[in-house]
Amino acid sequence: MSLLEFFQRHQREILQATWEHVWLVGLTMIFAIAIGVPLGILVTRKPWLSKPILGSANVAETIPSLALFGFLLPVPWLGGRADRLAIVALTLYALLPIIRNTSAGIANVDRAVREAARGMGMTDGQILFQVELPLSVPTMLAGIRIATVLTIGIATIAAAVGAGGLGEFIFRGLAMVNDQLILAGAIPAALLALGADFVLGLVQHGLRPVR
């Protein structure tokens, strides 16, 4: 049976798994952005928080993903629901690039621009929302892009704790020593990553503040 035939025969399952995968990654990114962007801003406002916040995010990044899923298994609210657990773990991984790029984007705003804004009587909130954030958008988006591609890859491992997604095929294929099964997970995951990278690249290009 050729790979193409295999894909055709299991079309429904592959689409189903792809959909689960997109859902896991999508929710993860929503949480990661909702947490990461404010943390990134906080880091620029309270420099003493920079080390603990970026340090923790860095540490989370270094834990091998399979181990992190394992560590979270006994946690009461998480252990019972595989998708919940997977999203929490994936969010922890996605945070670092988002926090780092948000704070770097804000820190890179020209000093003269910030001083002029303050000197003219803009409030802290106005400076943040009208000056600093718009000017950091390209850097922030670059972070979100990296985090998304990263998450699409790591999310395949979520299948190890039963959270579904394209990793199901990969783990099954590994267990059954079946290359076609592995590829049925790996190829769609790779295409998803490339697609996300491309689309977010377009968004990043379109949202450059200065043409």
């Binding site: 002029a116 804004a117 000197g119 003219m120 009587g121 803009m122 718009p134 503040p209």
Partner: protein, 261 residues
């Protein structure tokens, strides 16, 4: 937001420093500075880098607050003002201009009027008026971004933005320092004419003695965090004190070079 003062006491200085000291992490940057600036005056703070000129300027719009003494603006200590309300009444121009790169020229100039809640039509006509005022004619500049302007044009937009909400006071920190000498001379002359019409109270920081003589109605010589003395331009030219004389000697170097050719 406090209402604009309608009747002004002409004898009351617009800006007053009373024995102002300022130190930052153990370094004394201002040492017992006292001065007054009257309505319509242009005070130039002249001195070397590190003499405390910029620090003194930032005291006026409360980007910095005195560690000792007080700075009064329109009779009220800056620490008693709401800093936002205070800054909205004071135009601020800095050497690097600090135009918002993601705003068009028109949006940059409209910034403070919009924040002050001016109606849209009035903002629009004010933007056009300000562009004319600073010599950017023809309506082709409004939709450009700062990156599409020359240094001189950017600096003009910076002045237009600072004047847009019609502030009583204008603070300028080395406003023309980054421009080439030809453009600088042009803009200085235009600004002098503009100031003659608008009668704002202006404080300018510079290390360029030529600029001080062209623009200042008074010149405050600063050294090591102190105001050494405040001169009229006439007195400055003829002053005997060594520092003022040194500045004048520096100007004379050019004259001599000219004569030798």
């Amino acid at each position: 937001m406090p209402a604009r003062t309608t009747h002004k006491d002409a004898s009351q200085p617009v800006i007053e420093f009373r024995n102002v000291h300022f130190s930052l992490s153990g370094r004394q940057l201002l040492n017992d500075v006292s001065l007054t600036v009257a309505q319509g005056e242009t005070l130039v703070l002249l001195g070397r880098s590190g003499a405390g000129k910029t620090t003194a300027l930032k005291m006026i719009n409360r980007l910095l607050a005195p560690t000792q003494g007080e700075v009064l603006v329109e009779g009220r200590a800056t620490t008693e003002w709401d800093p936002i309300a205070l800054r909205r009444r004071i135009g601020y121009v800095i050497q690097d201009v600090g135009l918002f790169p993601h705003y068009t020229v028109a949006q940059n100039i409209a910034l403070i009027p919009k924040l002050e809640g001016w109606p849209g039509e009035r903002v629009g006509s004010r933007v056009k008026e300000m562009l004319e005022t600073v010599g950017l004619h023809g309506g082709k500049f409004e939709q450009r971004y700062p990156s599409q302007l020359s240094g001189g044009q950017r600096q003009r937009v910076g002045v237009a933005r600072a004047l847009a909400a019609d502030p009583e006071i204008l603070l300028m920190d080395e406003p023309f320092g980054a421009l080439d000498p030809m453009t600088r001379g042009e803009i200085q002359n235009e600004f002098k004419a503009l100031e003659g019409r608008l009668k704002k109270t202006v404080v300018i920081v510079t290390h360029d003695v030529g600029e001080a003589l062209v623009l200042g109605t008074r010149i405050g010589l600063m050294e090591a965090g102190r105001i050494a003395r405040i001169y009229s331009p006439h007195d400055f030219v003829h002053a005997s004190d060594p520092m003022a004389a040194a500045y004048m000697a520096q100007l004379r170097v050019y004259d001599e070079a000219k004569r030798e050719k």
